[in-house]
Amino acid sequence: MIRIEHLNKSFGDKQVLFDINTEFQKGKVNLIIGASGQGKSVLTKCIVGLLEPDSGAIYYGGQDFLNFNRQEKKEIRKQIGMLFQASALFDSMTVEENVMFPLTMFTNWTKKEKLDRVNFCLDRVNLSGINHLYPSECSGGMQKRIAIARAISMQPKYLFCDEPNSGLDPKTSIVIDNLIKELTYEFDITTVVITHDMNSVIEIGDTILFIHQGKNWWQGDKHGIITTDNKEVSDFVYASEFMKEIRASIMKNHNT
């Protein structure tokens, strides 16, 4: 479980995050949603330690991450897997080397043990047999799955996914969403997903945090977000006329 308390972050004079308090639960897919430029990525970067918050606390399983020294932070980071928006695969390495990289850096496993683990992870994301391809030879959807395979290779306790569906077609997006959901339940991971994709919200969101103007604006689950009266959340979820019609229909059924 990850707990955030009174988190604030500014860049110069501009405050981006205001007193964020939330909890990301173990074994669940926790979503952070919100319009562009509202602070979702900054919040995630603060949580994983890529940015230093101005104040507040971040607890990983009860331990205050911000008070850790460099070595302690490193140990926590070894328990984190992250899927980046652009996959962030090492383009000079093959698929196999990419997935094997954390194992090579942090374990003393034999070559065979590492290869077995790589094959297991690639198999788990339905990409067996592409070990010797380079990331540039793979499609966007494949790259996301390779990045997921790399993220789970060290059996992480925490999985962060930054807009895992960006740039993917709806069908591939559903494949990625389902994969994230399955892995979260299968390995009992605390998963945090930043997304704009309403399909993802409805499909995989066990808990949802809506960030607006850098504030923790709304929190709930996928059922709550459909029927909420909160104007900003509704405007975000039902942005198009078509979605507004759907909402009207849902609310009509809800009231009768």
């Binding site: 890529l50 980071r77 992250m82 928006q85 962030a88 383009d91 090579t104 850096m105 942090f106 060290m154």
Partner: protein, 246 residues
């Protein structure tokens, strides 16, 4: 003000770079890869430049030797001295600043803009030590070898140009090369090369690592890396010459 800020960040970066590598076996593998990329791959350009550079130095020296009182071996002597003292270490380093420096800045810059460096950091890898330290050590180890190759080929180029044009003969040229030859000059040239190698790679890595933005900014970082490392080489050359020779 910005220069002072950058120098401060550069020094801070160096402190982080010189941390213990995550795993020595990975470091050793990276080191050999970098020696190949930075060093071995630079041999063709160094060989080409050095041979022609030596040829031109010898021809220009010969064409300016109109005074009959000057002995003919002076051509070999001047070619040798100028090559060892200045042309091989400094000019080759400036060329390497262009070739190796831009390559390193754009490689690391692209890794930064495509979040590959963030991926390393999140895994718990010290990205500066992992990416930059093998490059610095490779350049310190291999640049002197490149300069020794350059010295040899420059002298060969000088000999070829003189013999082919008939401006001197082999015996006189070799006598000129050996005349008043001091090993100290070679040592001085190699020390300069080590310093230049360090400056090229660390400055290029600095600009690459702190790239912000997209592909245009990667290009800008590569340009800044080449310009800054060239200026640093010229300044360091002046300081080292003062220290060693005066």
């Amino acid at each position: 003000m910005k220069i002072i800020k950058n120098i401060g960040r550069f020094i801070q970066m160096l402190f982080v770079v010189y941390s213990k590598p995550e795993k020595w076996s990975v470091f050793r593998e990276s080191l050999f890869t970098e020696i190949y990329h930075i060093g071995v791959n630079s041999i063709p350009i160094v060989a080409l430049m050095s041979t022609f550079m030596g040829g031109v130095i010898a021809l220009q020296t010969a064409s300016n030797m109109s005074n009959p009182l000057l002995p003919s071996y002076t051509i070999g002597y001047i070619t040798c001295s100028s090559t060892i003292l200045e042309f091989s270490p400094t000019i080759i380093s400036l060329i390497l600043a262009g070739k190796v420096g831009s390559n390193i800045a754009s490689e690391i810059g692209t890794m930064r803009t495509t979040e590959q460096i963030d991926a390393l950091e999140i895994m718990g890898v010290n990205s500066l030590t992992y990416l930059v330290l093998p490059k610095i050590i490779a350049s310190i180890l291999f640049f002197p070898i490149l300069v020794i190759i350059s010295m040899g080929l420059s002298l060969l180029g000088g000999w070829l140009s003189l013999v082919l044009t008939g401006l001197s003969d082999t015996e006189t040229y070799i006598y000129g090369i050996r005349y008043d030859f001091r090993v100290f000059f070679v040592v001085y040239a190699l020390v300069k090369t080590v310093v230049f190698g360090f400056l090229i790679v660390s400055i290029a890595s600095f600009y690459g690592f702190y790239t912000k933005g997209g592909s245009l900014d990667v290009g800008r970082s590569a340009t800044k890396a080449v310009v800054s490392s060239s200026v640093a080489i010229l300044i360091a050359n002046f300081i080292l010459t003062q220290l060693f020779l005066l």
